[in-house]
């Protein structure tokens, strides 16, 4: 753990004990978040990105969910095992979250102002007038016109983009060190998406804040990310700077993923895809969970799960091609 690390997730496992079996949604995730950076968590649907984000603040449904192993270290405190009272002081204050769908993430029966003020009041003695003034400033920062009016509005009276910006304003109301944005642009159209991305970029530039940005849209990663962690089957398979991930990926899955990006400079008619399906989280393949779909599968991949290993400085990858067992390096 280096000095500029603000959050360290170590071998995190969040399993869901369902009637059909144990869903190993997050199954040994490692990554670190540095001060002031934007780390993107990327991967297909169901690869464990969102559950990882929820696990940081233990916000998944429990039961059936449980953190069975691992640590989430924030300022020396393990969020995965600390008391719920301690965690509650962190939630919304130090680490805030923006959810995918503001429409359903905001409570329909309270005004935006009430919902923001509520969060400010949850983390300190602030007079109502001060809290309202702060809420107003935040809405202004989010480029919401007539913020005083917006404070008195209910979520259903706002447009989709406005709701998402109000949601971001709410998450910033206690000036968090870490902002977790879980696909904040999935539920909005492209013009709104551009607005939201612009706001996030400004936040990154103006505030001393680290961002965990979850997306399956690689073009957004290029726009905002400093580093990216690629998820597959509930694990991180590769971590590197965004440039390297996009330009020279190492893990066969990342390579496949990048190949799927449409390239307008070529005139291929068919978009390539990775053959096979995402693994069933109840019944993960033995060994490396990617091996049934891997182009470069070896003998060892069937039985042994590769660990995430550092290759060169910032770059880490979990693949036998790069380990002693595989022996490419």
């Amino acid at each position: 753990m280096t000095a500029d690390t603000v959050l360290e997730v170590k071998n995190l496992k969040t399993w869901f004990y369902t009637r059909r079996g144990i869903v190993k949604a997050v199954n040994g995730v490692d990554f670190t978040l540095r001060r002031g950076e934007c780390l993107c968590l990327v991967g297909e649907s169901g690869c464990g990105k969102t559950v990882t984000a929820l696990s940081i603040l233990r916000l998944f449904d429990s039961p059936p969910g449980r953190i069975v192993e691992g640590e989430v270290i924030y300022k020396g405190l393990d969020l995965a095992s600390c008391t719920i009272q301690r965690l509650r002081q962190i939630r919304g204050k130090d680490i805030a979250m923006v959810f995918q769908n503001a429409q359903s993430a905001l409570n329909p029966v309270f005004t935006i102002g009430d919902q923001i003020v509520e969060q400010i009041n949850a983390h300190g003695q602030v007079s109502r007038a001060d809290a309202v003034a702060k809420a107003c400033r935040l809405l202004e920062e989010m480029k919401i016109s007539q913020p005083e009016r917006a404070l008195k509005m209910y979520p259903h009276q706002m447009s989709g983009g406005m709701k998402q910006r109000a949601m971001i304003a709410m998450s910033l109301s206690c000036d968090p060190c870490i902002l977790i944005a879980d696909e904040p642009t999935t539920a909005v159209d492209v013009t709104i998406r551009a607005q939201i991305m612009h706001i996030l970029q400004e936040l990154k530039a103006n505030r001393d804040m680290s961002i965990i940005f979850i997306t399956h849209d690689l073009s957004l990663v290029r726009e905002i990310g400093d580093r990216a962690a690629v998820f597959y089957g509930g694990k991180v398979v590769e971590v590197d700077t965004v440039e390297h991930i996009l330009e020279s990926p190492a893990h066969p899955y990342t390579i496949g993923l990048m190949r799927c990006l449409p390239d307008i400079s070529t005139d291929s008619k068919r978009l390539p895809s990775i053959p096979g399906n995402t693994p069933n989280p109840i019944d993960m393949p033995a060994g490396c969970s990617f091996h049934p779909r891997c182009q470069e599968v070896m003998e060892v991949c069937h039985s042994k799960d590769p660990a995430l290993m550092n290759i060169a400085g910032v770059h880490a990858v979990a693949c036998h091609l790069f380990s002693a067992a595989g022996g490419k390096n």
Partner: protein
């Protein structure tokens, strides 16, 4: 909003008029006359029954055609004259005025009892879903819903008044309304009337809470760092309360017209249920109509209040 309320009030008057008319006709086309019992008393003293009947019916206008009687009655009602009770030998309004409080206290207390306990147990049941507590609450509420209130009343009297002697077997009007003794003797009637409602509220609250407990805004509320108390008691409950209000208000209507009548008779409480029960047997139509009319207005008012409460509870509901 104002035009909506005015429109609703006009509808209410029309509905009340309809109910009034139907009740009047049903009571007056029956084979017995409201003065039958009165005449029997006089006949027992040896007077000629037919001449007495003619005299009395002429005096109260009962010999006129039914349409004329109806118009006469309506005319009087519009002037605030609610008629004469033959069985109680006093004006209907006086009769109601001296008995309504007994019904009111019973309905009020049992409703408070049912809401506080029912909603409370329902919330706990939802939060502790699939635990022993939840199962116990479910069994309790199924039994509570299934038991008829009058039978429960009789059993409560049998156990607590007859066997254990903790309470009296009858309601004593000697105690003033605002007294501890009165509150004490209302315990069994309130339970008999309230437990059925309570049991229903446990189920409805539980399912309404569960519907909302897994909503995304609940995760948001937790992510904001709010204590679980606020998450459940404010964010979830406030959304769950809407279907509950519908059911509670609806139940209130059925208590006024059903449950309270039977409970009053079982426990001998001299409320409006008792009054109209006696009036029906005596064919004392003015009393029956008056009590029905009061009940009708009450239910219509409750419905309007419910609809207006919706707009306050859920800002997405607007009537204009």
């Amino acid at each position: 909003m104002r035009s909506y309320i005015i429109r609703r009030l006009i509808y209410s008057v029309i509905i009340a008029w309809g109910i009034l008319t139907i009740t009047f006709i049903l009571l007056r086309v029956g084979p017995t006359s409201p003065v039958d019992r009165y005449i029997l008393n006089i006949a027992a003293r040896g007077q000629d029954v037919d001449s007495v009947r003619q005299a009395i019916e002429a005096r109260y206008g009962l010999d006129k055609p039914i349409i004329e009687q109806y118009l006469l009655y309506m005319g009087n009602l519009l002037q605030g004259k609610w008629g004469w009770s033959f069985s109680a030998s006093q004006p209907v309004l006086d009769l109601i005025g001296s008995h309504w409080i007994y019904s009111f206290q019973l309905i009020l207390l049992s409703t408070i009892f049912a809401i506080l306990l029912g909603v409370g147990l329902g919330i706990l049941s939802a939060v502790k879903q699939n635990t022993k507590f939840d199962y116990a609450a479910s069994i309790f509420s199924f039994i509570g819903i299934s038991i008829p209130g009058f039978w429960l009343g009789l059993m409560l009297i049998l156990v607590f008044a007859v066997y254990l002697g903790v309470f009296k077997t009858y309601y004593d009007t000697g105690y003033p309304i605002w007294s501890v003794e009165n509150l004490r003797q209302l315990t069994l009637p309130v339970m008999a009337l309230g437990i059925g409602e309570l049991a229903g509220y446990v189920r409805y609250t539980r399912s309404a809470m569960l519907d909302n407990l897994r909503k995304e805004f609940v995760t948001t509320a937790r992510a904001k760092g709010l204590p679980e108390r606020t998450v459940i008691g404010k964010h979830v409950l406030r959304n769950a309360v809407l279907p509950l209000v519908t059911i509670i208000m609806f139940d209130l209507g059925s208590i006024v017209f059903g449950g309270a009548y039977l409970t009053e008779i079982v426990f001998g409480i001299p409320g409006l249920g008792q009054v109209s029960f006696n009036a029906i047997f005596a064919n004392d139509y003015a009393v029956v109509i008056a009590v029905t009319l009061i009940g009708t207005f009450l239910v219509l008012f409750i419905n309007l209040a419910t609809d207006l409460l919706y707009t306050y509870l859920d800002p997405r509901i607007r009537y204009d």
